[in-house]
């Protein structure tokens, strides 16, 4: 099971009571900015696109900071919506329940920084069907089935099934890489 243990700062942020000033927006931004970019990249976006979406998302988060209760989930939900909207505009497609595929090369800077293992995992996620990739992105960021189900508007069982299929496909992906 792929789980990314929530670190101390994320845990502290999750514990935010909602009282204004409990957690400075700037601290939250620093803790989650690159993680959100990674989350959007895991959804299939390129580095530049993911960074732009993260920026738009955090602008919205700042504007509604005082009323956002679960900011980690909130920014991811908004980022997914932004990505969906961006793809919709780019492709002139009708709204879809899940994110369509759109392989985008990572940015120039990341092209230099990314290790081979990082490139592989992004390629592996990109090869997944959209729903499985979406679930994996949430799982990688440490969210549980119930939380993911709530955010995606599906049942926890559906999330678990998508996760299981994603793991199966990922093991095949890595198996093919190994055989080469």
């Amino acid at each position: 099971m792929v789980t990314v243990t929530a670190d101390a700062e994320a845990g502290a942020l999750r514990a935010r009571s909602g009282e204004p000033g409990d957690v400075e927006f700037a601290d939250f931004f620093r803790a989650e900015h690159t993680k959100l970019i990674r989350f959007v990249m895991a959804m299939g976006a390129g580095g530049d696109e993911a960074a732009e979406i993260a920026q738009v998302t955090f602008v919205k988060a700042f504007e509604g900071w005082d009323v956002i209760r679960a900011p980690r989930a909130w920014i991811r939900r908004v980022a997914v919506n932004e990505l969906t909207a961006a793809r919709r505009v780019a492709r002139r497609e009708t709204p879809q329940a899940t994110l369509p595929d759109s392989p985008v090369p990572v940015s120039t800077a990341l092209a230099v920084e990314l290790t081979e293992e990082a490139r592989q995992v992004l390629a592996a996620l990109l090869a997944l069907p959209p729903r499985q990739r979406q679930v994996m992105a949430w799982v990688i960021d440490g969210f549980g089935a119930a939380e993911i189900a709530r955010e995606l508007g599906v049942s926890p069982e559906s999330v678990r099934q998508s996760h299981a299929k994603a793991r199966k496909n990922l093991s095949r992906f890595y198996g093919r890489r190994t055989k080469r």
């Binding site: 990314v4 690159t34 580095g47 990341l110 230099v112 990314l114 990082a118 992906f173 890595y174």
Partner: protein, 377 residues
Amino acid sequence: MIRRLRGACGVGTSRQAADAAVSRGMADVLAALDNVIDDDAALGRISAGLGTSVPGIVPPLGGRTAADRAFAPAGLLDPADTTARAGRPRASRRQLALRAAAGAAAALTAGAVALVAVIVPGAGHNSSGRSADDTAYVVKRVYSALSAAGPGTVAQMTVTTRNAAVSGGTTSAITAEEWSYDDRWRAVTYSAAGQHLYDEGFSTASAYTVVSYRTRTWARQRRSGGPAKLAPGPRGCEREVAPLPLPQPGLPGTLSAGWQPATVAEALRAAVSCGALAVAGRQRVDAVTAIKLTSRPDSVISETVWVSPGTYLPVRVIIRPAAGQQGPWQTADITWLPPTAQNLARLTVPVPAGFRRIPLARATAPLMRHIRVWTKA
């Protein structure tokens, strides 16, 4: 059906192994993003865009160049953003890089590594097939690292010069151990046989000291004036610069401009910014998978620089004559040391007991005759 059977038979990697690979890969993605994205700069742009202030941030500095703007969209690191990082715990790796850059400038300045600024106008070459954009990014990072100034790290270099002409023939190799910190530096030179030849350096009081182990003499003299500098900026791209002076003992106040700290760093910065170097892949340098930068194939001097992927500071530099040319080869291995008392002590030139003090001109004249390296490729 076949696909199902393969799955049922467990073809491929186990799910646990795939899980582990995904975890490692995504951790690498995050590390890469941390290395590329400057959160404070991005936060500053959000703040500026909203026309309001966000508590707890330092707004980005102005003065962007075209190159800066090219990397601006997500808060990608750029020189203007580096100041805003100060005091931020998470940026410790970047700060280390910037502090180390100060040492790099001083180290390169120390004169040992004759970093050759073979500057040819135009875009970087692409002999390795790597994207020119990769080169632009790496060059920008190297430039930023080298542009940072200030004390912080003791740079240590081992410079080996091969095929250098000395009085009475050609030596196979001369090795110099060099240390630099801020505007202080020291170089200890050894012959090919490992014989201690001489020791020289500038102290904090700008006093130049040279000790000759051959003649068992030493000299010291204060140097007047600050380090000379090359004209900075794009003007450097308008010319093709000859190799900078190779290490030679010099006279205080008469040292070649190429020896001065700011000058060598400036020359390297000019070289990278003018497209004289291009990314040629990655290679292992000791324990680091360093980014390799090479000079143009048609350059007068062949130069290869390996930079750390974390700090973008040079970890090894090799300079050799172009094909068909004669001249010395130089290899410089660079390491970065914390400014502990022990490391700072390496910047002091010790004068052994029993050595006789003589006027500086008398001390340096034999040295100048002793080591005469080729300065023309």
